[in-house]
Symmetry: C2
Subunit: 404 residues, 2 copies
């Protein structure tokens, strides 16, 4: 199941950024599961990674290689996360970097490795080595669609976003892909996302932009509250358009907003394809004293199994939302001033059910696929929004019946 239309956008090719996808048979023979991305020599690269203490070997290595200077290749496999694999996992990730580097005449530290799939099994490196030449052979600026498929795990559909904009009269393009459907509560980044632009941006500016934007996009989605061992989000600026962007330039805000809209679309696409998802739920908390308490309330609702099963049932069981707000841990809540809305319908005010509320009004909102839960804390000026899904029987089936 998934929420909303499954169509991929038409990807704007990004000059200086090529993608090649192949089938290595890592978990399932014949499926696309190996993606190589090639960056031009002039490209700036920024990355954000999981904060899970048990981060996977490829995450550790990617951070190290990114810090080392000039990455030229991103190498992604699906079907195996190479996480919880200890020293052997680190050797395997290094081996993959070395093998690709040898093929393309680079140094191993110019390759950033990424893995996604089952945790705790040995990476089948020989299959990856064997398929690398085909992936390199396939490199093309038009390789986005195949790559969008080649990074998927339990996802039911590929995810992409693309846009072009004019900065100071010159065209700049941004394209990106993402994957992820379970173990999704990113902390600093989500599962896997790759975004490229042909704008010219200094590495430090690019990293600052990505860190800030990821916080408002990928770090605001949750499916099951489980922060993965492998989350990585990469932003590449090839500079091939010749259009320079930097903070302080008049066009920077426009560029930053375009990047954010692409990341937001990719992040929301992950929620819409959440494991077993039948609803796309936005939880907006306004009137908080600070961001932390707004997020406490939003995540209490987003992670409540009782709220999530009510959403699955399209049941306007507002008492469960009220209970979640109540246990979110915000001190000295003013229950009389607090209001809760389902869509535009006020469900809670004056410490209880809103006087005008009728079950029919609540039912009408719950019957929709896209649902907004809005909490007005009436304590301050800060707002936060997170996006999540319902908890369906299929979620349990997917995670109980298959080893993922």
């Amino acid at each position: 199941m998934a929420v909303g239309p499954a169509t991929l956008p038409t990807f704007e090719p990004i000059s200086g950024f090529r993608l090649g996808t192949a089938s290595a048979g890592i978990k399932t023979p014949g499926r696309l599961d190996l993606v190589v991305m090639e960056l031009s020599e002039t490209a700036s690269v920024a990355g954000v990674f999981t904060r899970n203490a048990f981060c996977a070997a490829p995450v550790t290595l990617s951070k190290k290689h990114l810090a080392a200077g000039q990455p030229r290749y991103l190498l992604t496999n699906t079907g195996n996360a190479n996480a919880g694999t200890g020293a052997e996992g680190m050797a395997d990730a290094s081996g993959c970097c070395a093998k690709l580097a040898e093929l393309v005449g680079m140094k191993p530290e110019q390759v950033l490795p990424f893995s996604t799939g089952v945790i705790g099994e040995k990476l089948p490196v020989e299959r990856i080595y064997a398929a690398l030449p085909a992936a390199v052979e396939a490199l093309s600026e038009n390789g986005w669609e195949d790559a969008a498929s080649g990074i998927l795990t339990t996802d039911t559909r590929p995810k992409g976003a693309s846009c072009s904009l004019e900065l100071n009269g010159q065209a700049v393009c941004i394209s990106g892909i993402s994957k992820g459907a379970g173990m999704i509560r990113p902390n600093m980044a989500t599962m896997l996302a790759y975004v490229a632009t042909d704008a010219k941006v200094e590495q430090a500016d690019l990293q600052a932009l990505l860190s800030e934007v990821a916080e408002r996009t990928f770090n605001r989605v949750t499916i099951d509250g489980d922060t993965s061992t492998n989350d990585s989000c990469m932003l590449v600026a090839t500079g091939a358009s010749g259009v320079a962007c930097a903070p302080g330039h008049p066009e920077w805000d426009q560029f930053a907003e375009a990047v954010e809209s692409v990341l937001r679309e990719l992040a929301q696409a992950i929620v819409r394809d959440g494991e077993g998802a039948t609803k796309f739920v936005s939880i907006e908390v306004n009137g908080a004293l600070d961001s932390a308490e707004a997020l406490k309330v939003a995540y209490a609702i987003a992670h409540s199994p009782l709220v999530k099963t009510a959403l699955f049932a399209s049941d306007p069981n507002w008492g469960r939302i009220l209970a979640a707000v109540g246990y979110a841990g915000v001190e000295q809540l003013d229950l009389e001033a607090l209001k809760i809305f389902l869509g535009d319908v006020c469900i809670v005010e004056n410490g209880g059910r809103a006087a005008d509320y009728t079950e029919e009004q609540g039912q009408a909102v719950m019957n929709q696929e896209d649902i907004l839960i809005r909490v007005e804390l009436a304590r301050g000026e800060v707002s936060e929004t997170v996006w999540t899904t319902d908890l369906s029987k299929d979620y349990v089936t997917i995670n109980a019946d298959y080893r993922s």
Copy 2:
């Protein structure tokens, strides 16, 4: 579904504590749903209550009446939580206290009200008023079994614990009942539990004992992470045995341990009857620097939908446990020193799968109904244990198909 045998113990009657149960037809015609408990004039009473900010009207009123001095009656209805009901809910709870007080010739503030059931619907007070005489009529020291049924909601079976012990050559009895199957992550107490003893204990000592013991029993169980609006746990000491117990007395520790064992049994019974439960899971975290970080790790595992669905599937998917430990938020975890065990089987050491581990070993543990997950943090000396259940298809069915 539920885990383990469904038998109630033989309840030791507690002299000075009588229970009467009746059917008020609050939600389901004919079922036992109204319980009156009568305390002797000499009884001491202690209580712990939910910390949910949206606590229900009866919780607010019980706290007030308990503080006022000498409670003589506990009045419980199931089928309606009288929570999220605003000023009207408070008036309804007060009305029930007044009605019972009138019947038995007491003051309204000598009655403590408790409600459990659906949130946000008006309490049908007329039905309760009509059934009160029958409940008072039924009062008996042998009324434990009926009362154990009369407080249930989505529970599949009644829960009780009882013991007698000799203190300084004299007999003392402790009996108790509890209920709760969903919206269970008590914070200060769980859903509803009532424990009585004929020991003689000063109110302040009794309250201190209950607060301490509830922290290690009811506050260590979680089914779905949802802290209810109505959690209440009451401990009554009638003093009818004539055996005085106080901190500092040689027999106090023995008494306190007996009280704790009754509360632990009642708390664990709630987990064993968790909504859709097929497993009873103990999560033991050792070697923590402090209690807070031990609990962070334990609850990260206990609340992970991915760990819980793997438990439901009896799948030794240890990578999900490792991931939960990794995102629990403990700073500077030493991944090399950390170990994770399933039962007696070491599954994680040296940052990855234990060298000796085989899938068969993990499967043998997961096939059991009672499962121990043990994490050795190797940072300090503090241990904590929490108890939880799996996440089954039935959990979703129960909470999606019925308004509870």
